[in-house]
Symmetry: C2
Subunit: 300 residues, 2 copies
């Protein structure tokens, strides 16, 4: 499983039933929350997304529409007696902001929480199956994008064939890594005889908030799914630049230049009630585009 669910898609102020930014990437073993605008805990409950696999939270930047829901989620999970540890990634000040609220309420969380300050681009977290890197965004304040890349065994063992060569189960991990097997009598069984190539690792990148920045293209080259902010329509490039945001066409250009497979756009300005033009404009440049609508789920 590698599925992204949108919990909130609006910028700045909740409007027209759209919540501030939050989304969750679910894999078999873990859930990763990306940004956590006000009301994210209620959105998680609304879409029946349980927090028991939630292991990592990534906060892009410290504008409120991206993190004001974090303290509520953290304390609610404690009230619900969570015990699993939780990793939180974000700008350095985040830890102090959370801690001063916990201290003021004399709250001691029921679970261990580890804050990780984002300071430079590169890998920041790694689970059994997923590697997560951060990418610098260009926004008015320090801001980070996130790249999720599935780790894959390079080969899948074909059990029938491996059994036929009497390869012991204990050797399967080496087969997955591409190694040949040498029988007791010295015969080499070439790896490709008993394994098959795996599907390429699935990838997702979150790019918000940011102005149009082609330097990000290399870092997200060829990924499966890209979320890129589109705060404004294409007739507002100056406003977008002034406010360190992107337009529809700019997001589409990034997707096209990076050769991504699918684009999701969001972080819509509250001045737009209807979002049809966002989709139309973006699709003119990059066809495989969807709107980030609350509750929609994208499976790769």
């Amino acid at each position: 499983m590698f599925a992204l669910t949108i919990l909130g898609s609006n910028s700045a102020i909740p409007a027209f039933g759209r919540n501030p930014t939050a989304q969750i990437l679910q894999t078999e073993d873990n859930s990763f929350l990306i940004d956590c605008g006000e009301g994210a805990q209620s959105q998680l409950a609304r879409y029946k997304l349980r927090n028991n696999k939630l292991s990592h939270i990534f906060i892009s930047h410290l504008h409120g529409d991206h993190y004001f829901g974090l303290i509520g989620l953290l304390t609610s999970m404690s009230l619900l007696s969570r015990t699993q540890e939780l990793h939180v990634y974000g700008p350095t000040q985040l830890e102090q902001i959370i801690n001063c609220q916990l201290e003021a309420g004399e709250v001691r969380l029921s679970y261990p929480i580890h804050f990780h300050s984002l300071t430079e681009e590169g890998m920041i977290a790694c689970t059994n199956k997923i590697e997560i890197s951060c990418i610098k965004m260009q926004h008015r304040i320090e801001c980070w994008g996130f790249l999720f890349r599935e780790k894959k065994n390079p080969r899948s063992v074909e059990p029938e064939k491996a059994k036929a060569f009497e390869i012991p189960l204990s050797y399967y991990e080496q087969l997955k890594k591409g190694e040949d097997y040498i029988t007791k009598s010295g015969t080499v069984i070439p790896n490709h005889e008993v394994t098959s190539p795996n599907a390429p690792p699935r990838t997702y990148a979150y790019c918000a908030d940011t102005l149009y920045n082609e330097s990000v293209v290399e870092k997200i080259k060829g990924i499966d799914l890209l979320y890129h902010e589109t705060t404004y329509l294409k007739d507002q490039p100056q406003k977008a630049m002034d406010r360190y945001h992107s337009t529809t066409v700019q997001a589409a250009n990034i997707a096209k230049l990076a050769g991504v497979k699918q684009l999701i756009i969001g972080h819509f300005s509250s001045k737009y009630e209807n979002l049809d033009a966002f989709l139309t404009e973006t699709k003119e440049v990059f066809e495989n585009t969807s709107l980030a609508i609350e509750g929609s789920c994208y499976k790769i």
Copy 2:
């Protein structure tokens, strides 16, 4: 106008469509927000309660279900270009909690904000028509209740009668204060000849979060409307006491002892989906009771 609207009635965690605590008291000139749980800004929008009269916000204590929505409301009002000054009352640490979030986001509010630390019981704010006092609650951490009392001119001028005695308009303010009028020829027109008594000032008290505490009774004696927390049903007095909360019967007892006219109960524990028993149990002791339901409005 003296109208209380419930924006959130639940304790701790949002559940069963119930939001964390927030309510707004509207008068002709001002709106007063009392507590501001997560999502309060969306609730204000949902019930079409505009913020242009919102002049004062009162935060009872620093448990998240009573104030995690404050930073979002404050910053949203700034994004909407509010210019009127705002007064915020609460425990001392509140100012630092808000300021460190504004600083992290490099947000400069579009309007002046004045924080007032609550340190002792007594009058804390005063508008043209309303006086607001704070009352100590007994909770696990520092916690304040609030008493809103309408200032009333002691008398209403009866214009026809005042005109008949040729009392100048400029003297009406003194008439309202109960003073007699002396004509140029020295004749005394007794005040009661040209004025009539006014309705008594309207009053509202907010008592949450608190355990059962009879010392509050004297301070809210005879008020029109009392909101008292009832986190638990009457079969949980020990749990209520351990957690510094109240039961239905305890809230009803306070209302009865204080001789208030009407009681609203709220801050329901998330373990209760159905609230019928809250109403039944409270009414057994104090008949004129209502449940604090999101969106309900109580006019005095």
